[in-house]
Amino acid sequence: MSRGRAGRARVVEADVCVIGAGAGGAVAAAELAEGGASVVVLEQGPRHDADRFSARPLDMLARIYRDGGQTTTLGTPPILLPLGRGLGGTTLVNSGTCFRTPPAVLERWQREFGLETLTEDALDPCFARVEAALSISEVTPELAGRNAAVARRGAEALGWSHGFLRRNAKGCIGSGVCAFGCPTSAKQHVGITYVPRAEAAGAQVISGADVRRVLVERGAARGVEAQLVGPGGGWLQVHAPTVIVACGTIHTPLLLARSGLGRASGELGHNLALHPATGAFALMDEVVDMARGVPQSFYVDEFAAEGIMFEGVAGPPSYAAMSLPLSGRRHAAAMERYRNLAMFGLMVSDGSRGSVRSLAGRPVIRYELQEEDVARFRRGL
């Protein structure tokens, strides 16, 4: 920071500065504040007012998603990365599905990274604590809607392992727009759960704070410098002996790189895994009304050991229109029968790895889907 800017910056002192109010940052902030620490949370996006959630996908994409939902990888194929923007981070825009980390993944972490303390038994009370805080429960068949019923019927006929997903929702009425701003605030994203808890415990949560760098002295983080966007603007410095960088998979490495941190490992910005996903449509004889009910409510895990997981996906007509792999008259004809369309998604546990770096302040995300993952998609479809 230049001397002039340093002189003009507003300065706040805290025990801990948390950067990002998403799944990682909000939880850390609440736990630390409730434990007695003085905490400042800086969030780049705004504080959204659920009164303005319109249940119209295009409108909401532009408002609550980073880059309007158009953050895209460079590679074959290009992949859209849905990233939330605002208090709640990506929990604001995800479907609400909440899995405990599967035992096979914990075992791999132990094997590859030496994370031997992260066992199922050790994590059980931690998972239970978060599940209680987020009101995580299994979707009921009634709330799951007819799109899930179609998939369930198929899974049952084939004898495939399946079930209803567990998600963070309370008082859900199946509005069908979890990914576009829940109008009932039934989805318990961290912006309405952990963030208010952090604030109630005394944390200062500042939205519209674009953190430019972590301040480092003698090799240790000593605070954060942020540019405030919106009315008033200006610069902010948070002086804190502990800094938690929780800007997500894409933006955390960029901030660390800007701050001159983490480069020595040679791993900064590498090893990006995405769990890429796609969806398939089916034209049914019956009316499905795919967006009525919880879009991601049902799963088929018959092929989980192969790295293929099927999960529900659905949305209002404008969402379906963008997702249909058709054009021209065929597209129009399919959309005329929207009410009879069913949709289901598949997600691949990827072996492919990508990278993130900055170009003119923007993330450049490279990711090539390797042949073994392409094969998983083919098999899944």
């Binding site: 009164d51 295009l58 532009a62 109008p183 209002p316 404008s318 229109a321």
Partner: protein, 93 residues
């Protein structure tokens, strides 16, 4: 004098395109402009993937429009209003 009714689909699509990072935003704007003209559509039709993207974009705007969505059983205003009412009733955030 009555004012023209806003076209929520078209406005939504414009905002969506504006929200994309550059240079994608300019590219999408061009695709939308071409897709909205018969000659542009014919041109796009030669490249399948681009044609599909342009078609999807414009269709997204079309079905975002309340009248077109309602014809397919989707009433966004009713869903949003019901959500607001429930939040008030139950004191949700």
């Amino acid at each position: 004098m009555s004012r023209a009714k806003p076209n929520l689909g078209r406005e939504g699509l414009d905002r969506f395109v504006d929200a994309a990072p550059q240079p994608a935003s300019s590219g999408l704007r061009l695709l939308v402009a071409l897709e909205r003209r018969p000659r542009g559509r014919r041109m796009l039709g030669r490249i399948h993937a681009v044609d599909q993207l342009a078609n999807g974009l414009v269709a997204m705007g079309h079905y975002e429009d309340p009248a077109n969505a309602l014809a397919l059983g989707w009433d966004a205003d009713a869903i949003a209003s019901r959500g607001r009412a429930l939040r008030r009733e139950e004191g949700r955030l």
